[in-house]
Symmetry: C3
Subunit: 304 residues, 3 copies
Amino acid sequence: MKRITATFLDEITHDIPSQNWGREDWAREFGLYRRIGIDTVVLIRSGYRERCVFAAKSVPDLLPVREDLGRMFLDLAEENGLVLYWGTYDSGVHWMRQSWWREVELNQRFLDEVAERYGSSPAFGGWYLAHEAARHENHIVELFNGIGGHCRSLKDVPVLISPYPMGTKQFAAEHAFTLTETREHWERVFAEAQGAFDICAFQDGQVQYSELEEFHQMVHDIAAGTGVEVWANIESFDRDMPIKFPPADWRYLRTKMEVASRYAARLMTFEFAHFMSPHSCYPSARNLFARYCEEFEIQTDGQN
Amino acid sequence: MKRITATFLDEITHDIPSQNWGREDWAREFGLYRRIGIDTVVLIRSGYRERCVFAAKSVPDLLPVREDLGRMFLDLAEENGLVLYWGTYDSGVHWMRQSWWREVELNQRFLDEVAERYGSSPAFGGWYLAHEAARHENHIVELFNGIGGHCRSLKDVPVLISPYPMGTKQFAAEHAFTLTETREHWERVFAEAQGAFDICAFQDGQVQYSELEEFHQMVHDIAAGTGVEVWANIESFDRDMPIKFPPADWRYLRTKMEVASRYAARLMTFEFAHFMSPHSCYPSARNLFARYCEEFEIQTDGQN
Amino acid sequence: MKRITATFLDEITHDIPSQNWGREDWAREFGLYRRIGIDTVVLIRSGYRERCVFAAKSVPDLLPVREDLGRMFLDLAEENGLVLYWGTYDSGVHWMRQSWWREVELNQRFLDEVAERYGSSPAFGGWYLAHEAARHENHIVELFNGIGGHCRSLKDVPVLISPYPMGTKQFAAEHAFTLTETREHWERVFAEAQGAFDICAFQDGQVQYSELEEFHQMVHDIAAGTGVEVWANIESFDRDMPIKFPPADWRYLRTKMEVASRYAARLMTFEFAHFMSPHSCYPSARNLFARYCEEFEIQTDGQN
């Protein structure tokens, strides 16, 4: 079974409560990542609606931004030898209303500003396309091509996406997709957005545990021959509980990791700081970390 | 930006889980308030349906009450030099069924008992009218006049209310009020309930962040010339998350405080003990406290 | 008022998030139980759908199981002088589809395996019938007779059930049962499943606090003359909050315990580890434990 070697950073969130960490907390967390073999952090989005991780000039009507989290994350990544993938901007509006050109143009201006401010950071090692899609919808191909292509023109580093299957854990039976439907849609997206991204890490929490093997085989098949590398985005929170969302139960997280390890080049997670960290605001995450360390015989000490 | 100098106490709650604090926990908390500049505590309600903070004789069919939280809060307030505003009783029934006279009469008998038991406490420095309203509805004017007037006759100290706007964060678009509608309704309430209350602290969590400036201007305008003092009730929990409710994200709480500081005489919060305290059962509240202390250069030590 | 002397263990759960405890955590917890007078632990179910507490051969399509929680719980119970009631298997499917014979046959094969593996443990002191029912429905009589009878044939130790009333805290007014309806249904179940179980511990969280006295009287009456012993399953979580589910407020938990103590031979709880333990992942549970210890003058020390 593979270890988790990459995690999202979720500081512009829409469904996970803030931990209110300061710089010291993040410094401690990034130090932990280095020690336990996490070498990659992925900023899930650098802006969402009126929020941003820095005081961007290219996005209208932002709320006031006092901190520069972009700089802080890049600096801490550099100090700890981690690679950071930079997540793009999600308006939460334009692409939902099918005005994909607005979403693309806004992102292009925004990413120009990002590249100018942060592009020279030694830790800036990838892009993450923040628009999450489940199928060939919302002009996702135009978004991937328009934004992914622009990213690459600004800084030629790997581009990552993380789609999700419309599985029965998240969607009611009448809306859920079969794996066959998901396969058809994504084969089409992969073909039409060829070259827009280099790595694909499907989310794994929407399908039933009993479907995992078939699901990862499907993802493998979609990517085969396209040149796209497959990672697995192992969700470390639990979708089966009334509380949305607590840390995962180690027993089933391990099961997910075992199956994914047979198919994916790397395991990443959404996300370590809330759901697996010994410093998490969720005490059960601290215990999940203990179980994870037992599994991989990771020595922990008072410093973790 | 102003500091928060008042907080609700929420020990008869209907939507925030109990922290199960004992007297020692509250003593520690009130000591903290003194040290960080919170000089006012507001008991949000002293009774609700069949629950009460003391074994009242005037309310029928109460559940057994073993502790006298009213006494404990007043004593701790006195010890720490805090002023306590006493919240009235909310039947949860009569006024919802438009039988406002029952609500008023029950409260009058109840408040007689309160004044007799607690009125002589040096910390008893205000009344809080527990009936929360969003608009001119549920005979709120009769409630304010009937209960607020009675409070003042028992002990002539300031009377506080805390209404809420029917903003789009809490209400679906087809039910939400525009700020203009809210203004019209509350201008009317202020006029018809003149003299029933002295201070008005609108809740701030129902409107979008982008509406905050206009919202506080509106509240300012409603109160202008009425003699009512405006405070702002800065909600320190997050209404945007699937979990109802976690502590706020410091970045947006600060934004709310900044805007409110330009309009309100004082900032209060609902509420410190759960959502901002270093002793909270929510670990992210402890971090929120750390961020708040950084902002105002409050020295903390092991005692907090 | 009686102490709580029994608790469920909820390691195959469907609505309570995992605490991710390891063996050390459980050893500490069971040691606590011994010290505070909890002499009985009830495994609420040993299997549910595709999950199991051990790698059972008799249940098809299980997820991989690495730990033997059954063995661990029995060993820890033995070490601490506790009695363990073993919970049966719940397919989550067959009985919901009225194919009760499938549920019974699957359980019989499964329980044969359980008895062979674990039946000789000195701590194995009872059975718990995991199928929870609210009324005479889903062929509950056939399930109790078919599974309870088989349990007894494998190992003749007491058999426990824990039904629930369809009270207004859990069910909308149009679906809720009156206490009279609940009484009629369960008199019938008790008569038709005579001999299938020895102990009945109704859940107490679905009825209003004001109905508790009448509720416990009803349970007492149902069991009177049947030879079935009555325990009360005092729920230590709160059903009244938007978050499903936080630890209970001590004031109302105490009220529930006081009423139940007048009718039930013993108080058990669902469940101690999450909602009342000083080691719980819910900090308010740790405070609930402190309040509980104050009430019963239980000395606690750094070891708890």
